[in-house]
């Protein structure tokens, strides 16, 4: 107590006396501007520090800054900003005078500079105690990039992104420090300009052609990547805890570009790209297929005497039923696709009012015919300050329309399937088009009239119409008011609203539509989320050495989701398409829904820094969500003996860092930057559906009493009043280092992450109206190592080369599953694969563990032989041809041993060259495509197969059996992008102030032993399934040419 009693008066004295004290010394001011040395554009948010003093500030939107109270004399001023190299300059400050200075910062890759957005504020990088990585949009926005997720690929350690497939605007699996959730979401929280967005799929899911429709496209497609200024990834608990309940999977903060405030500047950038498939699967061509059938017919005839012809070779009729064409269905379905992207922006304003406006048009075609997406977007940003800068207001408004044109392919399941299944299946001796002998009309060739389970894939692509137009408006308005000195109050109101209409048409002319004689469907989805934040921020510096910042606030988020769908079948004509549902003779019962949920939060954070050497951050957030259980009561009513509500939870975090390089004993050493950090915190995962804890009745299960349909009403969800948050606790230790300033710098981090009370949809004891419910069951543990390094390879007057690298090592383990001995997952797709599962979630093993029979060899009669346990039926000498459940074992792991990325940034005179190489090493991929299509048996049904099957010893009638044979090493190294840019010299620029042209190549080369399209793939095949590849959209190789001009 004695200490406190002495301290408080001292503190009060310091507070009161701080200003007079500094006034007694002789000081001057520094005023200046910071610009991009290349573009000469003003740079905002640049940190300006006077070395050896506590004087610092950040530049305004027009790049200017004022620093008062600077001690007189020669001062070293340090200027740093994300994405640029630090600049140090000596400035002579005179008493009462103002020195003017201009800084030109040079753009730089990978490890980034100073002010970092950290959520509910920004911080100097060196004061950050948590694990935060930043990507500069200028560096990452190369080639064809349709959304923010793609900009992070290979550029941030600890972040693994798997694009679902090569579809334009495809969704992606983003995992920050590995996925720890089994059935709740593993997606991070996205925050755009301070407003957390609901990253739900904006488009309705679609109908699907004999199976599940393809996975949803990326919801972030609605945000133009050219408007993005920076992306910050918060990885560890101490950094993310400020987002509490929603932060368990990490947080991605996206900051958009703001107005510069100088005279009006106009900028144009645009590109044209051409894409082609990066690989073909190689199925038999017509001649190969014909030769194979001939060979099998000969074989069948030869052995008919010895054994029944039915079990040997093919009957002679197989030959006569072949067509005469020679169609390469892969090439018939793919083409050189064009993408164009145009951006125009202008920015301007004055000292108090600044604005930036931009327009974007993007049109991306897929490498497969008849699909792609278009984006039209307008964005407006404005800031205004008044009352001598005490009141600052801002507005961000984005309006976009995305037109999706879908290809009818499947996520998985079904052997009839869509375009890609039939691309492999459809007999290559048949033509794409045929002339009807009676009507002389040219039409698509089908193997028979009406409904068919094998369909002309080109006809599927061209005849089926499936589009979704999405409008999204994302806006936020904010105001900050300096109530008194050091105390700022802020309000931020955000609205995110999207509306999408999906229209689908299966014409009767196509075998898919023939089943119902035409099918038309329209479905709407509406998403609205609203955010309100109120914050109070107190910032001060006591007695020179003590930096304090305290933030406290309240936040309210509401999420509304609604939809409507109607469908009609049996059309007289194909002429209406999806535009006249009333013309269908059969109308399917329409459907509509509406659901709402809220999250309410109170948050607080305190940062304390001492002498710029020791930093401590504490965070406390209390979140309440409507979606969790209200608790149970022993007797209802009255509510007595209640267990209490599970809707509220507390998320704390604490972290600290020590900047060793600021200690006196480190002065003058080659190690110019050295810092250790450690943190610990708790976060939540609320990604469960609205009303997840309630018993709900739903309609839909109908029954025809006496032929009259009665709509049955029954429970559609079991109640679980004890449903609560999934909680992740994370500990993080890190070292940041710099050697000889920027020659070598980097970060090493270790973490452990433990998620308990997993939100898991599990089977419930019967009887229960629904066989499963969400429960909090089990525990998953992740631990990992991450490293990022930047190396200045060359630094000459006209040649500058920075090499960056990042390495991610992550280990995941299911610790327990509560009462469950295992959970099955990873549906195997294809004919004859019903009920087959590829993966098990097993305690002691990572998520994504492949589980099945172990393949040994193919025996002399063409049957597959597997290893078995002696006790199982049919097991002789440890071998069997009919493996049973007891013979199954762990046969693979879909997680890489490590992932890495290498970036190169070279500036040579007017040229700039960047390259990104990245890879995953050591993971297994289940090649489901090969399982089903690299055995010859398809010929029994006159279906085609992969050329690899010709040399495969498996017999014609041996079924496809899932086993370790189809688990392949999926290690790869990919040359993701090379970009060569040229800064146009003044003499070539007429009116323009600046110009750059560039050529870029995406996905140029992949080194892998994997046999399928691409080892980087994701199909949604059940709980936490990973690494399964089944006939999905091929990836593109893309060449881009672009230009950027500023006026």
């Amino acid at each position: 107590m004695e200490v406190v009693r002495r301290f408080i008066p001292a503190l009060a004295a310091a507070l009161l006396c701080a200003a007079p004290l500094s006034a007694q010394e002789a000081t001057g001011s520094i005023r200046g501007t910071v610009v991009d040395s290349a573009s000469k554009q003003a740079l905002t948010n640049v940190s300006v520090t006077v070395e050896g003093s506590a004087r610092r500030t950040i530049t305004r939107a027009d790049g200017t800054f004022d620093l008062g109270g600077v001690p007189v004399g020669l001062q070293r001023v340090r200027v740093r900003r994300i994405g640029y190299g630090t600049l140090l300059r000596e400035v002579n400050v005179t008493a009462g005078g103002t020195s003017t200075v201009e800084f030109g910062l040079v753009p730089q890759a990978a490890i980034l500079g100073e002010m970092v957005v950290t959520g509910y504020g920004s911080q100097r990088r060196e004061a950050i105690t948590g694990s935060v990585a930043t990507v500069d949009a200028n560096v990452a926005n190369v080639g064809v990039v349709s959304n923010a997720t793609q900009m992070l690929e290979g550029r941030v350690s600890g972040v693994r992104i798997i694009q679902n497939n090569g579809e334009p605007g495809a969704g992606a699996q983003m995992r920050i420090r590995g996925g720890t959730s089994i059935s709740a979401s593993n997606e991070p929280l996205y925050v755009i300009d301070g407003v957390a967005i609901d990253n739900a799929n904006t488009e309705p899911g679609g109908v699907g052609v004999s199976g599940e429709p393809p996975l949803a496209r990326n919801p972030l497609n609605t945000l133009n990547t050219s408007d993005i200024e920076s992306i910050t990834v918060l990885k560890d608990a101490s950094a993310t805890a400020i987002y509490g309940a929603r932060a368990a999977n990490g947080v991605v903060l996206i900051e958009t570009k703001k107005g510069s405030g100088s005279s009006v500047a106009v900028e144009y950038d645009g590109y044209v790209a051409s894409a082609s498939p990066s690989k073909y699967l190689d199925v038999l061509d017509g001649a190969q297929y014909r030769a194979f059938v001939q060979q099998q017919v000969t074989l069948g005839a030869a052995c008919a005497a010895a054994v029944p012809a039915t079990v040997c070779g093919l009957p002679a009729s197989s030959l006569s039923s072949l067509g005469t064409a020679n169609t390469d269905w892969e090439r018939a379905l793919t083409h050189n696709a064009t993408t164009t992207n145009q951006n125009v922006s202008f920015t301007g304003g004055g000292r108090d009012t600044r604005y930036r406006a931009s327009l974007n048009y993007m049109d991306q075609q897929g490498v497969v015919i008849e699909n792609g997406f278009k984006r039209f977007q307008g964005r407006l940003n404005g800031t205004h300050q008044t009352l001598s800068g005490r009141l600052r207001m801002g507005l961000n408004l984005t309006a976009s329309q995305v037109n999706n044109h879908y290809l009818p392919f499947n996520n998985l399941s079904g052997f009839e399937g869509g375009v890609f299944t039939n691309m492999v299946n459809f007999n290559p001796t048949f033509p794409v088009m045929v002339t009807d002998p009676t009507t002389s009309q040219v039409k698509f060739y089908e193997i028979g009239p009406g409904s068919q389970s094998v369909r002309n894939p080109v006809a599927l692509a061209k005849q089926i119409d499936d589009v979704a137009n999405t409008n999204r408006v994302l806006g936020n308005a904010n105001a900050a008011f300096d109530v008194i000195q050091h105390l700022t109050a802020q309000v931020n109101i955000g609205v995110d609203r999207s509306r999408s209409t999906r229209k689908t048409w299966f014409p009767a002319a196509n075998p898919v539509g023939a089943v119902t004689n035409g099918l038309a469907r329209q479905e709407d989805r509406d998403l609205t989320s609203q955010t309100l934040q109120t914050l109070l921020t107190y910032t001060n510096q006591f007695m020179v050495d003590h930096d304090v910042e305290v933030v406290g606030g309240y936040e309210y988020n509401s999420y509304d989701q609604g939809g409507f769908a109607a469908e009609a079948r049996n059309f007289l004509t194909d002429a209406f398409g999806f535009n006249n549902l009333g013309a269908g003779a059969e109308r399917v019962t329409p459907l509509s829904y509406d659901e709402n949920s809220k999250i309410v939060s109170f948050l607080g954070r305190a940062n304390y820094g001492y002498k710029d050497k020791y930093f401590v951050t504490g965070v406390l957030r209390k979140d309440g969500s409507t979606r969790f259980g209200a608790g149970t009561c022993a007797s209802v009513p009255p509510p007595t003996n209640c267990t209490g509500s599970h809707k509220w939870a507390l998320f704390p975090a604490i972290s600290a860092s020590w900047k060793i390089s600021n200690e006196n004993f480190m002065r003058g050493r080659s190690i110019t930057d050295l810092r250790v950090r450690a943190g610990f915190g708790l976060q939540g995962n609320p990604a469960v559906p609205a009303y997840a804890s309630l018993l709900l009745l739903g309609s839909g299960d109908r029954y025809p009493f006496g032929g009259t349909l009665i709509t049955g009403v029954s429970p559609t969800r079991n109640e679980n009043p004890d449903l609560k948050w999934e909680q992740t606790q994370q500990a993080n230790v890190a070292v940041d280092f710099g050697y000889k300033d920027d020659l070598l710098k980097g970060t090493l981090e270790f973490y452990t992450k433990e998620t308990k009370d997993l939100l898991l949809t599990v089977a419930v004891p019967q009887p229960a109206p629904v066989s499963t419910r969400l429960e909090n069951v089990g525990k998953v543990k992740n631990k990992g190592f991450e490293s990022s390094v930047d190396l200045q390879m060359l630094k000459r007057a006209t040649l500058d080369w920075i090499l960056g690298g990042q390495l991610t090592v992550e280990r995941n383990k299911v610790v327990n599953l509560g009462p469950y001995s295992f959970l099955t997952s990873g549906d195997v797709s294809g004919q004859g694969q019903s009920g087959q599962k590829a993966q098990r979630i097993l305690p002691g093993y990572p998520l994504g563990t492949f589980y099945g029979p172990k393949f040994i060899r193919v025996n002399s009669t063409g049957q597959q032989v597997f290893s078995c346990v002696a006790s199982s039926a049919g097991c002789t000498g440890g071998e069997t041809i009919a493996p049973t459940g007891a013979d199954y074992m762990v046969i693979g792991n879909a997680n890489p041993s490590f992932s890495y990325g290498i970036t190169n940034q070279v500036n040579w005179g007017n040229f700039d060259i960047s390259a990104l190489i990245r890879g995953d090493i050591g993971q297994d991929v289940f090649n489901n495509t090969a399982l089903v299509y690299s055995t010859k048996g398809n010929a029994l049904q006159s279906k085609n197969f992969l050329a690899a099957a010709l040399t495969d010893p498996i017999g014609l009638r041996e079924p496809a059996i899932y086993s370790s044979r189809w688990i392949e090493n999926g290690s790869f190294t990919r040359l993701q992008n090379i970009t060569v840019g040229y800064r146009l010299p003044k003499r070539l620029l007429a009116q323009a102030s600046e110009g750059r042209v560039y050529l870029s190549g995406d996905n140029l080369l992949i080194l892998t032993g994997y046999n399928g399209y691409d080892p980087e793939v994701h199909v949604e095949a059940g709980l936490a399934s990973r690494g399964i590849d089944y006939l999905t959209y091929p990836r593109a190789r893309t060449f881009t040419g672009g230009v950027r001009l500023a006026f």
């Binding site: 079990v311 009957p315 009729s317 197989s318 039923s321 009839e416 028979g448 109050a489 309000v491 309100l532 109120t534 059969e586 659901e595 809220k598 309410v600 409507t626 509500s645 018993l695 709900l696 739903g698 299960d701 109908r702 029954y703 025809p704 009493f705 006496g706 032929g707 009259t708 349909l709 009665i710 709509t711 049955g712 009403v713 029954s714 429970p715 599990v762 419930v764 004891p765 019967q766 009887p767 229960a768 419910r773 009462p819 469950y820 099955t824 004919q831 004859g832 694969q833 019903s834 009920g835 087959q836 599962k837 009919a882 493996p883 049973t884 029994l940 049904q941 017999g955 079924p959 899932y962």
Partner: protein, 516 residues
Amino acid sequence: MLLGSALAAGCTDLKEAPTSSITPENFYRTDAEVLGGVASVYAQLRATEWSYYNLSEVTTDEIIVPTRGQDWYDNGTWLELDHMSYTGSSPAGLGDVNGAWNDYFQGVARANVVLNAIADKPIANKVAIQSELRTLRAWYYYMLMDFFGGVPLVTTTAIQKAPAETRDSIFRFIEAELHAARAGVPDASALPATSHGRVTKGVIDAILASMYLNYQVFNGTVSATGLTKSTTARWDSADVVSTRIINSGQYSLRTGALGTATDWRSNFTSTNASSPENIFVIKHTHADGDLGINFIMRALHYNQFNPSPWNGFATIAEVYNAFDAADQRRNIFLVGPQVGQDPQLATYNQPVNNRQGSRLIFTTTIADATQATEGEGARIMKWPPDPQHIGNQGNANDYAFFRLGEIYLIKAEAQNELGNTAAAITNWVNPLRARVGAPALSPAMTQAQARAAIFQERLFELTGEGKRRQDMIRAGTYTSATYFNNTTARAPYKVLMPIPQTQLDNNSNLKQNPGY
């Protein structure tokens, strides 16, 4: 900022108020709402057409699902059922067996939800509705008892880890429930046309007759060495209940000449709702693409119907050949050169080809069940396609759990066991044979011969109707009979299905059945 503070105060209420879903508290208040609840309990009966049907048929000689090249391997599930090699965690154990467990218990749970919700609400016909729901719940328990033996007995709505009761106490619960409910439900003739398909006194009696028929099984004990039948039989009860149905005047056999609208086959056509022979049915309709019967899809070849069927389920030669050539009931099998079966297609009754381009021929034999061809195996087409079908499941043929033909055979079996062998054959077996052109059996046979003859008659009359597993267990041949793909006996404890591992995991009070 003032706005912010104002909003903040009212924004910590986290109570949920669903808008497009409903909760039991605010439902089941009007007759129509209650009927919606009742309909959902009936709707769950459709699920039995997959799990109960397949497990009752594919584990026996009546139906086999051979692997046909790439098709129908399905993780070995189908041949696992054929060989009875399933366990609680094998593909079939985690698949169809687990599906069966869930399907019937969901039926129980749906009935419990409505029964509990209406218990203290003043609704019209309350006793009738309660009796109807208790009957349906008893029927779901009957199927559980038949497959799994003793199971948890729960009549409340809370999800709980209830321990399993004995098979006998489940039997007695079902029996008591049915007796209690009988007074509350109408005779079939008293049902208005718009209620066709709902529970009647006949439904209750048919379930009871079936229970008494199998009493020695249900009251017996199962150990790792198999079933020991109870020494107590209830043939008298089976006789009384089946007589009550036959004498009720509510049902009659269809005996019209083949090809007429009242022939034996009319019990199975898309207009069979009007058949006076059907007692307890699952109602189907072609008014919607998903609410019909889909058995033909499992059996027909890809090229015989629109949409393309699945070409899976077949019958083995021994079963097909057991039928007398004169017996019209053999015509439910498709064998030999095939024609299109879809009345809506131009290929209807026209020759169709297989996928290799030659005429599709269904052979009676299957050379190798692991490597069968498209055309091998006779196909059951007992429920012919609905000319107005929509999609694959839009066939309106009702599926009968019980029809009068079977009640005759239950009566016959009871009579024979009670010593009236000649009457059993003459009065209750031969009438079924006469209407389908099968020669009459001589009543001059021993009780044992008659037992075998009635068992065989059940095969002819009820092929494909989901009775075979129960019949073979009662006859003692379920695990011991050898045929086609099963050249050796199966483990005798397979007379009970394994409790699926998933269910053992989530209810620690359950114990695995003996032997597994």
